[in-house]
């Protein structure tokens, strides 16, 4: 029942063929059936979800649903770094294992206004730091396509839940690829909107100049519906952009012929799996048949994106995570004085990768190293951003793979941070430039999903979604389901 498109579910709800309660019960039933194996959810709010479903059913019956309710009755799962009033929010960290938010994130309020029903909170890499979801303090997530493989990260739970058919869509967050890379590994559709397009108010900050919330769905069409509900300016987030939000469904089915795409040589070069390259080249051919002209280009500074990102993101993280000290909230490990209480709470509360990034960031910002590392990385970021600006003067889109490989094995890269970081080499430049990008399934390599990345101009999610949808009208990889 819940593996239909959002559009179909909306139509069936409107005609009375199904009820919100049936959708919510179907979602909970599916989670109870498979999530013991997959591990996508950290906690469920079954009672709250059923109450909300019944309330919405009454409204639907009385014809009282408002026009803004673009997602009325659709169940959703929320990544656990997005605060939910009265539902524990942990960021998959031991230090926040008892944290009970007093307000909702703006995106959660907007989803409620749009009529969604929150089923529960999704597993992730602790504080969104990781590419495999193995950094969760609670339990691992398994890739629904192959239970010996990682789902990707950091929004691994968000991607696996959609792939496993547990909920029709989820919210994730993307700082260096954390929506797109797991979407690629799990064979689902993941959109990172333009920086500032979606409010970050209530998203527990990792790297504030890069973080962005976005939808993980089965299709680009579903993604457009979710974006309609969550995009737009928010006075509570001073970095949120005051830019008009278009009707994302309006040009979804418009003709894509005449659009121009750039394919960076670096994105199909050394270090990219042959299977990934083949699938992406086939996808480019499908788009070419649709009338999209493409040309090979270069993003010369993209090879510096990885070190730039790790310096900048870790520096921002070291400042953002200073608030977790065991004083006002979170778990305290008391010692006999204040400083040692901070140290003990933080050392016992944070996992290894989080501590590693706090240490790297603190070092890069410390006296004597600030100019050599932090400021240098900010300057290289400018050059990386200019690479994109130049290409977008001549092209509407940039196309390539989302990740250099398909999902790797659980435990395989855990001991080698630099190898782990390299999984995000094709997604990180997009965050540094702040542009929007989507990952859509484009086939399989050794029975594991491959993701096609479509990158657009600042605030042009509409074209990204249009092209992704045009591709999905010609292919059926996004409707493929794993055997669970």
């Amino acid at each position: 029942m819940i593996d239909q498109s959002i559009k179909t579910m909306k139509e069936k709800l409107a005609s009375g063929d199904i009820t919100v309660r049936q959708l919510v019960d179907a979602s909970i039933e599916r989670i109870e059936e498979v999530d013991g194996t997959v591990g996508a959810f950290l906690r469920l709010d079954k009672e709250g979800a059923r109450l909300e479903a019944d309330r919405l059913d009454m409204q639907l019956m009385d014809g009282k649903m408002t026009a803004s309710a673009v997602l009325a009755g659709i169940p959703v799962g929320i990544k656990d770094n997005i605060v939910t009033k009265d539902i524990t929010t942990t960021c998959a960290s031991a230090i926040l294992s008892n944290f009970d938010p007093i307000h909702n994130a703006t995106v959660v309020n907007r989803l409620h206004e749009a009529g969604t029903v929150t089923i529960g909170k999704l597993n992730m890499d602790e504080f969104a730091m990781g590419s495999s979801n193995e950094n969760s303090s609670f339990h691992v997530v398994k890739n629904p396509w192959n239970l010996a493989k990682v789902p990707g990260g950091s929004s691994g739970g968000s991607a696996a839940a959609v792939a496993a058919g547990e909920v029709p869509f989820t919210l994730g967050s993307d700082t260096g690829g954390s929506i797109r890379q797991p979407a690629s590994y799990c064979g689902v559709t993941g959109l990172k909107p333009t920086y500032g397009r979606v409010s970050r108010f209530g998203l527990v900050a990792y790297a504030s100049s890069l973080d962005q919330i976005g939808p993980i769905t089965r299709s680009a069409e579903d993604s457009a519906y979710v974006m309609q509900a969550i995009a737009g300016h928010d006075a509570a987030d001073s970095t949120s952009a005051n830019v008009d939000v278009p009707d994302y469904t309006e040009k979804l089915y418009a003709d894509v012929s005449g659009l121009k795409a750039a394919v960076p040589a670096e994105y199909l070069g050394d270090g990219i799996d042959e299977g990934v390259k083949s699938r992406v080249k086939e996808a480019i051919a499908v788009l070419e048949e649709q009338g999209i002209a493409w040309e090979e280009v270069s993003l010369p500074y993209s090879k510096y994106a990885l070190p730039t990102y790790y310096i900048l993101a870790s520096s921002e993280a070291s400042a953002n995570l200073a608030r977790f000290d065991g004083i006002r909230y979170g778990v305290r490990h008391e010692s006999d004085n204040l400083i040692d209480t901070y140290k003990k709470s933080r050392s016992e509360g944070f996992g290894e990768e989080v501590k590693r990034r706090i240490m790297l960031g603190t070092f890069a910002l410390s006296t004597g190293y600030y100019d050599a590392y932090y400021k240098k990385a900010q300057k290289v970021r400018t050059l990386i951003k200019q690479d994109f600006d130049k290409i977008f003067e001549r092209f509407d889109l940039i196309i390539g793979p989302t990740a250099p490989t398909t999902a790797f094995g659980l435990g395989e890269e855990l001991d080698d941070p630099l190898t782990m970081y390299a999984n995000d080499i094709l997604t990180i430049p997009v965050n540094l430039a702040g542009v929007p990008a989507i990952s859509v399934p484009c086939g399989f390599s050794d029975s594991l999903p491959v993701g096609l990345q479509i990158i657009g101009k600042h605030f042009d999610e509409a074209t990204v979604l249009q092209v992704a949808n045009a591709y999905q009208q010609q292919t059926d990889f996004h409707t493929a389901k794993p055997d669970l």
Binding site: G326, A377, T382
Partner: protein, 96 residues
């Protein structure tokens, strides 16, 4: 630029309000050294005259009217406090 020493790691750990065992300090000295060495490839890039980017989109000095709005109730703000007394956060002694 030289790689990071164990003494530097200890200093950075104090700044970050983290404590490590001796074994952990040795491990961090190794892995952070590797990551920093990796980051030093940025030195190949000529950035003379390049402005640093701190945000991807141009947003400057966002101002709003200074209007009074209700604050969260004290019991809400305090409800996650690990330790409290008389509606105030309680901490271990600050001074010896």
């Amino acid at each position: 630029m030289s790689r990071i020493t164990k003494e530097q790691i200890e200093h950075v750990a104090h700044l970050a309000r983290l404590s490590f065992t001796d074994e952990e300090l040795n491990e961090f000295t190794d892995t952070l050294g590797q990551i920093i060495e990796f980051a030093e490839q940025l030195n190949e890039v000529d950035t003379d005259g390049v402005e640093p980017t701190s945000h991807a989109t141009e947003v400057h000095n966002v101002l709003r009217e200074d209007e009074t709005k209700p604050s969260p109730a004290r019991e809400n703000s305090m409800r996650n406090a690990p330790d409290q007394e008389n509606g105030q956060y309680k901490v271990p002694s600050v001074l010896e």
